[in-house]
């Protein structure tokens, strides 16, 4: 656990981003909730509608709410133009603000409803206008309750903001997701400690303000406010105070290989003097749309994934023909540039423990059809929704007794512990060899080809210098090199960081 300190100290950027995001979301939540509460106090219908909406939002899992803003913002581009960001800060801000709405709104409306009617009558009786009554009587009397709501909202928001990582916003979720991916518990713990600590500090400071308002002690109120302002100000300065040079944003989906390749590309660019930033842990569909819309600049994707998921194709041409068609399709539909293959394939393949497969006499997916009825199949969270799986299932007539979703990293543990009998593994995964797994043959060719390719966003693709910086990677990484790199971060002991693994991979391929 002595590793925890350096891990924590490394989180400065994430902490600053986390504070800025949470503060902005709470501020926006307050800005929407308070006028709404005033309106609601004058109209029971508005009160019911507003509270109903806020409660409904609250029932949506935070992760889903964050993800939903990507398509929403994408469709809003029709109104606001192509400059509207669809990933990162904006969707995270909007989703978290919606989340912060309920506690603030509910406390503000309750506080208004519980105001002594005699006091309100007196305010009218002494001749206050609507605004005077609000400012001089209703606001000061409701303030402690509203502050309690803001406090709850702050704790929720700071916790939920860790999920912003999945839509490409830097936050304290970065170490949590990266650590979860590679079973690096020190990273997970560091992220949790940092975000929990932040929540506790925010709760304490806002609690001080609340107490100051309740007991009418201005020193407490303003002291608390000043401390909050100082913290948020420092975070904003750290984030935006530096140079505002253009950073090249490299996307990565949520598994080790993607993290390593993103660092490898990033290191190549940094060597040539570019500033880079990473958007890690993106979902497959989000990642692809992000690069085609320019939300990220560079992404490593896989031919079979684009072929079946984005292009919706069900045929299975030879790999060169497939790549050519994909490149043409990307150019036509969005102007996204396909730089080329990295050299290895990371296919989906059904994997079993070697001795189990041997004992059952299963060598190919076709052999599995008879035995599947008593088996559990495991896959990553998107696997069973993907057309490739549906194609494989229907081609071989697979009927498994049960199917379970695992995060990619736990899938292999599940196979070892017997919680899954077959998994949808990745063929470039180092754990296939390390764990003694058998990849079942696919005699009918139901799984397409999954060559790893580099995609550049339309704007970045037309930048010759950036292309030249990444070009040396094309065709340079064979599957053995990739497996070794993947295993070096995934294994239980002596784990490398993504940066170290990327550097070793660069050395191995002679860069």
């Amino acid at each position: 656990m002595s590793d925890i300190w350096p891990a924590l100290l490394n989180l400065g950027d994430q902490l600053a981003a986390h504070v800025s995001l949470s503060a902005a979301a709470i501020a926006l939540g307050i800005a929407v909730a308070l006028p709404l509460a005033v309106w609601a106090s004058r109209s029971p219908a508005v009160s019911r509608a507003a509270l109903g909406f806020a409660s409904l939002v609250q029932t949506i899992p935070a992760l889903a709410l964050l993800a939903l803003f990507f398509p929403i913002l994408l469709s809003l581009r029709a109104v606001f133009g192509e400059g509207l960001p669809t990933l990162g800060f904006l969707p995270a801000l909007l989703a978290l603000s919606l989340y912060a709405l309920l506690p603030i709104l509910r406390n503000a409306i309750t506080a208004q409803a519980n105001l002594d009617p005699g006091v309100i009558e007196a305010a009218d009786g002494v001749g206050m206008t609507f605004w005077q009554r609000l400012r001089l009587v209703e606001a000061p009397l409701s303030a402690p309750y509203i502050m309690a709501g803001i406090r709850t909202a702050a704790v929720w928001t700071i916790g939920a903001a860790t999920l912003a990582t999945t839509i490409g916003q830097k936050s304290l979720g970065d170490p949590i997701f990266a650590g979860l991916q590679t079973q690096n518990w020190v990273l997970v713990l560091a992220g949790c400690i940092a975000s929990a600590g932040l929540a506790l500090i925010a709760d304490g400071l806002l609690g001080t303000i609340e107490k100051g308002l309740k007991t009418r002690r201005r020193a407490l109120t303003f002291g608390g406010l000043a401390a909050v302002a100082l913290g948020v100000g420092a975070a904003l300065f750290t984030q935006f105070g530096g140079s505002d040079e253009r950073r090249i944003v490299i996307g990565a989906k949520g598994f080790s290989e993607q993290y390593i390749l993103a660092r490898l590309i990033g290191q190549q660019l940094e060597e040539r003097g570019y500033a880079v930033d990473y958007r890690d842990g993106l979902g497959s569909a989000v990642a692809h749309r992000a690069v085609t819309t320019g939300a990220i600049d560079v992404l490593v994707d896989y031919t079979g994934t684009i072929w079946t998921n984005q292009m919706g194709r069900t045929d299975n041409p030879p790999r060169d023909a497939m790549l050519e068609e994909i490149a043409a399709w990307e150019t036509d539909t969005s102007g996204t540039h396909v730089l080329g293959r990295l050299g290895f394939e990371n296919a989906y393949g059904l994997a079993m423990r070697g001795e189990r497969a041997a004992a059952l006499g299963v060598e190919s997916i076709a052999d599995l059809a008879g035995a599947a009825g008593g088996m559990t199949v495991g896959g990553d969270p998107e696997f069973f929704e993907r057309p490739e799986w549906i194609a494989v299932r229907d081609t071989y007539g697979l009927r498994f007794a049960e199917r379970r979703n695992f995060s990619p990293t736990f899938m292999y543990n599940a196979l070892q512990s017997g919680e899954a009998d077959v998994i949808g593994a990745y063929t470039s995964d180092g754990r296939i060899a390390a764990d003694g797994l058998t990849i079942l043959e696919d005699p009918q060719g139901a799984f397409p080809n999954y060559d790893a390719i580099v995609l550049l966003s339309p704007e970045t693709g037309s930048n010759a210098a950036i292309r030249a910086a990444i070009e040396p990677l094309v065709g340079a990484i064979d599957v053995e090199a990739m497996r070794e790199a993947n295993l070096s971060v995934d294994r239980e002991e002596d784990k490398l960081t993504f940066e170290e693994a990327a550097r070793r991979l660069a050395d191995r391929i002679g860069l």
Binding site: D116, P117, G118, V119, I120, E121, A122, A123, D124, G125, V126, G127, M128, T129, Q132, L136, V137, P140, L141, R216
Partner: protein
């Protein structure tokens, strides 16, 4: 110069309904300056509503209320309410303001700062210590709070003081003392006062003129003496009978 004094307040065929209930029906009457008028009636008789049509806490549906020559509907609401002192049963002191700030609120709304000396003077008018100005309302007794309520109503030098069951929540001793004090202030400051009460004894003892309301209409308009002499009709006499019987029984017991 005419000999006729301008009325302080005039109701012209005032009506007010809440849904199907006719709270006030077609009330017309004139109140002369410096009169102390008690408005008496059972709960739901419309007396509070009629009072509130004056400072428009309730807006009349028909007819109009004229205050010192101006129809109240023509006056800007805040200005009207600052010209009319208003005291009511739940007192409604602002709990987050000191006694002094509560008293000074009306002038403050008009952009005027009340001096500490004037606040002390107002506290003295209601027989409170000037040192109370810095206290918070929750540190006062019920009677003290209503005294502050009266001081607040008087802070803007109104000509008209409206009181809606002002002593209803107070204990009998405090109630009697504060009633007497208000009557004295009425005389000293030359106010026109309208007090809503359900207590006929209080009305008879404090007022110059007693209006009895029943089902939204004025059913009696008499001096206390005339009511005691049996005038004013059945509803009014039923109300007068209660304190009279109590007084008789007390007199018997004392013998």
């Amino acid at each position: 110069m005419t000999t006729e004094v301008q009325a302080a307040l005039e109701f012209r065929a005032v009506g007010k309904r809440y849904g199907a209930v006719e709270a006030v029906r077609d009330v017309s009457l004139t109140i002369a300056p410096r009169q102390f008028v008690a408005l008496v009636g059972a709960s739901g008789s419309g007396k509070s509503t009629l009072l509130k049509t004056i400072n428009r806490l309730a807006e009349a549906d028909s007819g109009e209320v004229v205050y010192e020559g101006d129809p109240v509907g023509s006056l800007p609401l805040p200005a009207l309410r600052r010209r009319v002192g208003y005291v009511f049963q739940s007192i409604g002191l602002f709990p987050h303001m000191t006694v002094g700030e509560n008293i000074a609120i009306g002038p403050r709304l008009a952009g005027e700062k009340l001096s500490p000396a004037r606040i002390a003077e107002l506290l003295e008018l209601v027989e409170l210590d000037a040192g109370m100005a810095d206290r918070m309302p929750d540190a006062l007794s019920g009677g003290q709070r209503q005294r502050v309520g009266v001081a607040r109503a008087l802070a803007g030098d109104p000509h008209l003081l409206l009181m809606d069951e002002p002593f209803g929540a107070l204990d009998p001793v405090t109630r009697d003392a504060l009633g007497a004090r208000v009557r004295k202030l009425h005389d000293e400051l030359g106010l026109t006062t309208i007090m809503v009460t359900h207590d006929m004894a209080e009305a008879l003892l404090l007022a110059d003129r007693v209006l009895v309301m029943d089902a939204g209409a004025i059913v009696a308009d008499e001096t206390p003496q005339a009511l005691l002499d049996g005038h004013g009709g059945a509803v009014a006499q039923d109300l007068v009978a209660v304190p009279r019987a109590q007084a008789d029984r007390l007199a018997e017991l004392a013998r």
